[in-house]
Structure formats: structure tokens, C-alpha cells
Amino acid sequence: MIGVVALQGSFAKHAHSLGSIGVTCRAVRSEADLKSIDGLVLPGGESTTMTTLLQNEGLWEPLNATLETMPVFGTCAGAILLGQQVDDDRVKCFDKIQYKAVRNAYGRQIESFTTSLILPKLNYHDFHAVFIRAPKFENIQQGVDSLAVYGPEHVLLRQDHVLAASFHPELTDDATIHKYFVDEIVLKYR
């Protein structure tokens, strides 16, 4: 059972991707929803909105404690929240993977794009990646493993039980990265 944080954003798309590989999901909107799950997804959306809602709902602290050991996959806004630092004090970070996120680093919506990625460690070519007002990851520390690059940017990163993408695998029908998260992180860490 994977918990998908469902306060705002692309949570339904993540549940769809996980469902397509036979994984059941639960929407996480309160502390009680964190009980007896095996992994978590922090979806795409607006990181300022998510920060506000997580704090207003008293979900920040329990989630922060859970994320110490719980396998987690964050995309875009979710990846920003999982980082060590962010370039914007309107957003708070869980500090679970060692990089600094720079918000909207490619520009506004008019600079959003799609591209094809190679995922060498997943032995996979041609992953169709959708970047929406995407962040960039800077000051990436040792111990953080890069699973995909786009030009000079690392766009899919992993540190132990934490997986973070600056793009949106949940917006496509290709569940390769979700499957990697479940097989290589959730099943091995629980």
C-alpha cells in the first residue's frame, strides 16, 4: 500500500500510474492516513500551496518523522519539498535528500517542454519526460545518485530511500519509474 499525499496537485495521476502496475494506493490527507503504508508519493503541484496546507493541517511534523525511513518518491513540487534547501523562503523543506532546489529554474510556463530521457541504471531508453515550470537541483551532495540527466542537469536523483524527479512521470502512461520506485526502493526497504 502506497500513500499518495493528496492535498493538491497531480495525486490522482500518481495513483493511476501506480494502479497500472498493480499497486494499491491510499490518499493521505491526515496523520491517520500514514498508518500501515509501505511507501509515500509527494506529487507535483504548487510547492507554496503544499507547504501551507501541510502546516495548516498539522501534517508537517508526522510526515517529517515518517520520511526518516519511509520510501518516498517526489515529483517536481514534491521533489522541492524533499530537498535540503530551496531558493525561496515561502517553501519549507523536509531535508531528506541532499540538494538545493531552485524553483521554476527553466522559466515560466512558456519554457515548459517535453524530452526523451535515457535511464542507464534502469536499463531503459526513451522515457518521455514532461517538464512543467520545473525546478533544477543544485549543490548535489555525495551519496546522491543521478539516474538521469538532461543536458547539464540531473533530473532524477536517488539517495537511499528517497527518489526525486524534477519532471512528471505521472503525466505519461509509462510507469517505468514508478515500477523502479516500488521494486527497488519500497520492496527493498520495507
Binding site: F11, T48, R90, Q109, R133
Partner: protein, 293 residues
């Protein structure tokens, strides 16, 4: 790398789901909206209630005002152009707004044609009162549909009518046989390929939001339970007694729309909502929802 792709346009709308997009007229209001948890703001010179009160021609906003709002917040900034006014839309694209609303709130510039939205890299949102209208806009390139409702009234009745109509018409299409679809598309005046797509999937190929008259957390819950995936709030926040508190409450309502206990908590002690207008107080020529087709 490809940029002018429909999935990039609808992709941003996907990120706005379960959220609230708020009309703002100043950087100060934009900051209040962002702090309350808005997923985006709509930058415009006057909110719909004031446009309705003032009369005259309502046009796209001064670029300076849009730039000031873009400077003041980190969430997406949308802006409105007049129906059919593709030159205003080109200006908004040059300003790099994140979404363009081809909106009935402004005075229409073209009574025959809407903008050919496929020509733009910037995604468009358009209003609709029924499914055929929604499909015509999607055919022209809209990446997001919202109900028109009746803007600036604080009266939810028209948004409810439009959302129910769109949802009911979609479920009707999904009951039809393939050989009935062309006749229905002809009758609806909607693109056949989109009619056929709805008949198969039962839902719009773009996200479906609600706008026009939302004033309370329960209003937000109502339209979301009827099928809206996010909401636009125009006059409802900054025409209320305590905008910051109401903004925060409506943001929470968009998340907990199906949790009545939580909604009771959220709705408590918000001060007065905007006064609002009954539909009978609006003369036919002042109905904004009848602008465009």
C-alpha cells in the same frame, strides 16, 4: 525538446488540480492569495463585481500591473484577454503569463470568432455553459475548461447549472451507439472527433474547473462534488469582510471538499461573504455568460 505541445499545456492545469485560482488586482492581494495557499492568481485591473458595477468597455490589463504581480508571487500568474482578441493574447504571451483566460468577463472583441489558440505556446482556459461549447473551445486549442457561471455575482446557481449540464451531457454521450454520434455532433455543433472521444472515455480531454459565483467554502465543495477539479474565485474573496481568512478557508475546502465535518470547521467564523446578486437583478444584456458561444 519540444515546447508547443498540448500535453505541456494541460500538464500545468494538472498541477493546479485540487486548488484555488484567485482574482487579484494588486501585488498586495496577490501576496495574500499566495500566503493563503492559492495555486495561481488571475491578474486583472478590476474584479468582475466592479466591472459589472462600473460598466463601459473592459479590456486586458495594463502590462505594468501584470508584471508587478508576476514579481510579487512565485505561483503561476494568469491574465484575461477579450473573446476573439488575439492581439491582446499575443501581448499577454509576450509578457510570459502562465495561462491566458479568453474571458467573457471582458467585453468581447469578436462576436463571430474565438481565438485560434493552437497558434500560441501559452495555454488557454476558456469558459463554457455546456458540453458543445466546451468542445468547440477545445477544438480551437483550449487546454483547460471552466464553467462560466455568472461572474461577479457571488451567486453559485449558474456555475452549478453549467457543471451539471456538462457532466450530464458527457454521461449521455457515453450511452450512445457509434452510428448515433455523427448526428449528435451535427446537432451539438461540436467537432466530431471530440464527441467520439467523450463517448468513449466519458470525460473531457482537458481538466474541467469551475468559476463564476463561488463565495463560500461550501460553494467550492458543491461544484467539486459535481465534478469540478479545481476552482476559480473572482469577487468572492476580495469583496468579503475578511479576504485573508476567506481565502485560506476556500483553499482548505478545495482539498477537503468531500469531508463535511472538516467543512463545518473550515466555514466557522469567516465574517460576511460578499453580498451578491440574484439572477433576477441582472438584465439580459448584462449577463456575461451569454458572451461567446
Amino acid at each position: 525538446m519540444a515546447k508547443n505541445l498540448f500535453e505541456v499545456k494541460t500538464g500545468l492545469a494538472e498541477m493546479l488540480k485540487g486548488g484555488v485560482i484567485m482574482d487579484v488586482t494588486t501585488p498586495g492581494e496577490a501576496s495574500i492569495a499566495e500566503k493563503a495557499g492559492a495555486v495561481a492568481v488571475m491578474a486583472l485591473e478590476r474584479i468582475p463585481a466592479d466591472i459589472r458595477r462600473d460598466g463601459g468597455i473592459a479590456r486586458a490589463s495594463d502590462p505594468q500591473m501584470i508584471k508587478d504581480i508576476q514579481e510579487s508571487v512565485s505561483i503561476p500568474v494568469m491574465a484575461k484577454c477579450r473573446i476573439g482578441h488575439f492581439a491582446e493574447a499575443q501581448v499577454l504571451e509576450a509578457l510570459e503569463v502562465d495561462y491566458i483566460d479568453e474571458s467573457e468577463v471582458l467585453t468581447p472583441a469578436d462576436e463571430a470568432n474565438h481565438i485560434w489558440k493552437h497558434d500560441f505556446k501559452t495555454p488557454f482556459v476558456c469558459g463554457a455553459t455546456n458540453l458543445a461549447e466546451a468542445l468547440r473551445r477545445i477544438g480551437e486549442g483550449a487546454a483547460l475548461i471552466r464553467t462560466k457561471g455568472e461572474p461577479g455575482t457571488g451567486n453559485i446557481v449558474e456555475a452549478v447549472r453549467h457543471m451539471r449540464t456538462i457532466v450530464m451531457e458527457m454521461s449521455h454521450l457515453s450511452t450512445l451507439r457509434g452510428d448515433e454520434l455523427m448526428a449528435v455532433a451535427k446537432e451539438m455543433g461540436a467537432p466530431f472527433h471530440l464527441v467520439a472521444q467523450i463517448a468513449e472515455t466519458g470525460k473531457l480531454p482537458v481538466p474541467n474547473f469551475s468559476a463564476g459565483g463561488i463565495a463560500t467554502p461550501a460553494d467550492a465543495s458543491l461544484v467539486m462534488q459535481l465534478g469540478a477539479e479545481s476552482i476559480f474565485v473572482g469577487s468572492g474573496i476580495f469583496k468579503s469582510e475578511d479576504p485573508a481568512m476567506r481565502a485560506k478557508a476556500i483553499v482548505q475546502a478545495a482539498t477537503f471538499f468531500d469531508d463535511p465535518k472538516k467543512l463545518a470547521e473550515i466555514s466557522t467564523g469567516l465574517g460576511a461573504a460578499m453580498k451578491g446578486l440574484d439572477m433576477s437583478e441582472i438584465s439580459p444584456e448584462d449577463r456575461m455568460q451569454d458572451r461567446g458561444w
